[in-house]
Amino acid sequence: MKTVNILICGVGGQGVLLAGDIIAETAIAAGFDAKKSEVHGMAQRGGSVVSHVRYGDRVNSPLIREGEADVILSFEEMETARYLSFLKPGGAVIINRQQVMPMTVATGQAQYPADIVDRIRAQVPNTALCDGPALSAQAGSAKTINVVLVGALARQLGIPGETWIATISSRVPPKTVEMNRKAFELGYDD
């Protein structure tokens, strides 16, 4: 099978890294080779965060080559644009309806690009929006946004839902398994 490339982006603290782990572990559980890559340290202090996940028969580079991502799963509207060059022609973008102001915007030195989603849509017809804040609230906690988004991604990938739920259940606190299952399903069915 051709390697599937998923690029996840967002802001430090949004749960990007855990989402990447869940996707890679689910791919392994489904019988694929998988690799993922991200950077810890300075990048986590409210900075832009990106995680590359690749799975298939045999994966070499843990990093996706520009122009080869099948899906960009973006946790934050503006961050999508930063990584758009990774998308392959005809690739899909999933955008969480959330804006996190960078310090340059908060202090008035820069403007948040208000029409960013429309500008992305103009270039990427296959753009889906996911109201993560609303769906995670429906699931029971804003902390489940990343699992909602994993659900939205899962619908596009063809790995069975129960494989996803098994991985998610193993990676979240036991008390929150039910809530996260609901979050996954809300994202999947959205």
């Binding site: 202090r45 070499n60 996706i64 080559r65 122009g67 961050e79 644009a81 060059s85 310090m103």
Partner: protein
């Protein structure tokens, strides 16, 4: 059993499977998780060392006793540990001695891109370079065997993308290693000149034997493909090159020092053209070219060798950069959309913010250091002037004073974190006192080693493996170093912090201000959030000078606002607001 592991987790697992007994290391991105994961194994003694030199020396002592020992560090940590590394290269290893260096091409969280393979060459020790998590586990195990077989420390060299990428790893079992016990051997372990001269002869012989070993080592592999193009590579670069050139022939080197010259010569002969693809410095390329294969009529072959004339020497490689180097990257059809930068910032509620606000307000020159608090340089705080290396804040301030006089010293503070102070700030402070310096050192005591992910340190009263230990008092240490003026202040109290800095600067001789308040992320028990009373807010933007991610300015309404998701209720902004507009 198979598991998805990061390179760091796999190194820890491999060392554990090899029966490692003693681990001592100082945290540093991207190496930290190796130590953290080794600390979880009950069969292993693992400790947070005060610095990398200490870590390597503790490991060396354990090796003297016949134990298998490991130390790990970020690339610049090996500069600190270079002294014992070079001595141990002569002394050798009794129990296996493994030194892990995690280099940081691209400088994701470092001050330079030094290529630590050169340390292996300079110290004349073997260097293993894994290219994925599975090899991290395998090479960590092998490193102990090589160390004992060849009587040498072994450098296991990772890079950020090896350390922090995850891949599928087949796990094994632990083979217990029982330390053989200490046997006195002064000719082996006392590096006086008379002994060291003999040691050097052994070291050169060891290198020759290691080079022979490399000729048949299973980690140096040839993958036959198209004969037109042969690629010589190692580490993560192999993975990128494999994706970009799926049909080429490959010589993938796992042991990159010393190089297997016959294997390389044979490979070069077997293909028409050679690309050497490696990150940062031309470590392989220079040695291959120096061996003369590319000179027509010389020992091997006249195939052209392409390396750093095409592959960038600065920055991190990735598949895109490798493809672009050789004109193989199809440029994106997507039109770029410019968006504002999102640099990292001090967290909301970070106690360092109060100190940097005071430094900024008092317009002091601040010599800085390595840690989260380096972010104090960011606007709007803009409260840091220099960063050299761990501990360099204290001594740089002293140098400024010696060059420009006490007037400069009264306008200067050295800013250093608690863990960095224990690491190598103490020696600078002693130097200041001893040499009659005038100056102020601010120790940002947030009770933890925060930047690398919250490790304990000598001031926190807990060891890596959860034992209680004596809490070393920074105050007592400063007093014992001969500092007469030591003040402790709560950095969340802006007025008190400003007053303490002023008082310290006015004090003759060396003064220390300890800004003591725990990192907001230690227990994440935040106070109730604040909000802006819009009737009271006059839009003066003073609160924005704190650079708090929770505070932004609504240009349309001309009012500040606080994002309740980010606010930790630290009240620093409330204490600053002239109109008392920040309310619960």
């Amino acid at each position: 059993m198979k598991k998805l592991l990061s390179g760091n987790e796999a190194v820890a697992r491999g060392a554990w499977e090899a029966g490692v007994n003693v681990v001592s290391a100082y945290p540093g991105t991207p190496s930290t998780e190796i130590l953290e994961n080794l600390g979880k194994y009950k069969e292993v003694y693992a400790e947070l060392a005060t610095n990398e030199k200490v870590g390597l020396e503790v490991a060396a002592g354990a090796s003297f006793g016949g134990a298998r020992a490991l130390t790990c560090m970020k690339h610049v940590g090996l500069n600190v540990a270079a002294d014992p590394l070079f001595s141990m290269a002569y002394i050798g290893a009794t129990g296996g001695l493994v030194v892990v260096t995690a280099d940081d091409p691209g400088m994701h969280s470092s001050q330079n891109e030094q290529d630590n393979r050169y340390y292996a060459k300079m110290a004349k020790i073997p260097c293993l370079e894994p290219s994925d998590s599975q090899e991290c586990l395998a090479f960590a195990k092998l490193a102990f065997e090589l160390s004992e077989q060849f009587d040498t420390p072994v450098l296991l060299r990772l890079t950020t993308r090896i350390s922090h990428s995850k891949g599928v790893v087949e796990l094994g079992q632990r083979a217990e290693h029982t330390p053989a016990g200490y046997v006195k051997d002064i000719v082996k372990r006392i590096t006086i000149p008379a002994h060291a001269r003999k040691m050097h002869v052994k070291v050169e012989d060891r290198l020759r034997r290691l080079s022979e070993y490399g000729e048949t080592f299973a980690g140096n592999t040839i993958e036959r493909g198209d004969k037109k193009l042969g690629i010589i590579t190692s580490g993560i670069s192999y993975q990128y090159a494999r994706d970009v050139f799926p049909d080429a022939s490959f010589l993938k080197l796992g042991l990159t020092h010393p190089l297997p010259q016959k294997l390389i010569a044979g490979f070069i002969k077997s293909v028409d053209e050679i690309y050497v693809i490696e990150e940062n410095d031309p470590f392989l390329e220079e040695q291959i070219k120096a061996a003369g294969y590319f000179v027509k009529g010389s020992c091997a072959y006249d195939s052209p060798i392409t390396g750093k004339d095409k592959v960038p020497i600065t920055g991190e490689l990735d598949p895109t950069v490798v493809a672009r180097s050789f004109g193989l990257q199809r440029e994106s059809s997507v039109q770029p959309i410019a968006v504002p930068a999102r640099p990292p910032v001090l967290c909301p509620g970070c106690p360092h913010r109060g100190v940097f606000y005071a430094i900024s307000k008092l317009k002091l020159t601040a010599t800085g250091d390595i840690g989260c608090y380096t972010l104090g340089m960011m606007e709007p705080l803009g409260a840091m002037d220099t960063v050299i290396c761990m501990g360099g804040s204290v001594t740089a301030a002293m140098g400024l004073e010696k060059a420009l006089g006490p007037e400069m010293a009264r306008r200067t503070v050295a800013v250093i974190g608690d863990s960095t102070f224990f690491h190598s700030g103490i020696t600078g402070l002693i130097d200041m006192v001893y040499n009659n310096a005038q100056g102020t050192v601010v120790i940002l005591d947030n009770r933890i080693t925060a930047m690398t992910g919250h490790q304990q340190n000598p001031g926190s009263g807990r060891t890596l493996q959860g034992q209680t230990s004596p809490v070393l008092s920074l105050e007592d240490i400063c007093h014992a170093c001969g500092v007469k003026h030591v003040a402790v202040v709560d950095p969340l109290d802006l007025k008190a912090t400003e007053a303490a800095l002023k008082a310290a600067a006015g004090h003759p001789g060396v003064s220390v201000v300890i800004a003591k308040s725990p990192c907001i992320l230690i227990d994440k028990k935040f106070k109730p959030t604040l909000h802006v009373d819009e009737d009271a807010c006059v839009g003066c933007k003073l609160c924005l000078k704190l650079g708090c991610p929770a505070i932004s300015f609504d240009s349309a309404r001309k009012k500040s606002k606080i994002d309740p998701i980010f606010c930790t209720g630290c009240e620093v902004c409330a204490s600053l607001c002239p109109k008392k507009a920040m309310k619960r």
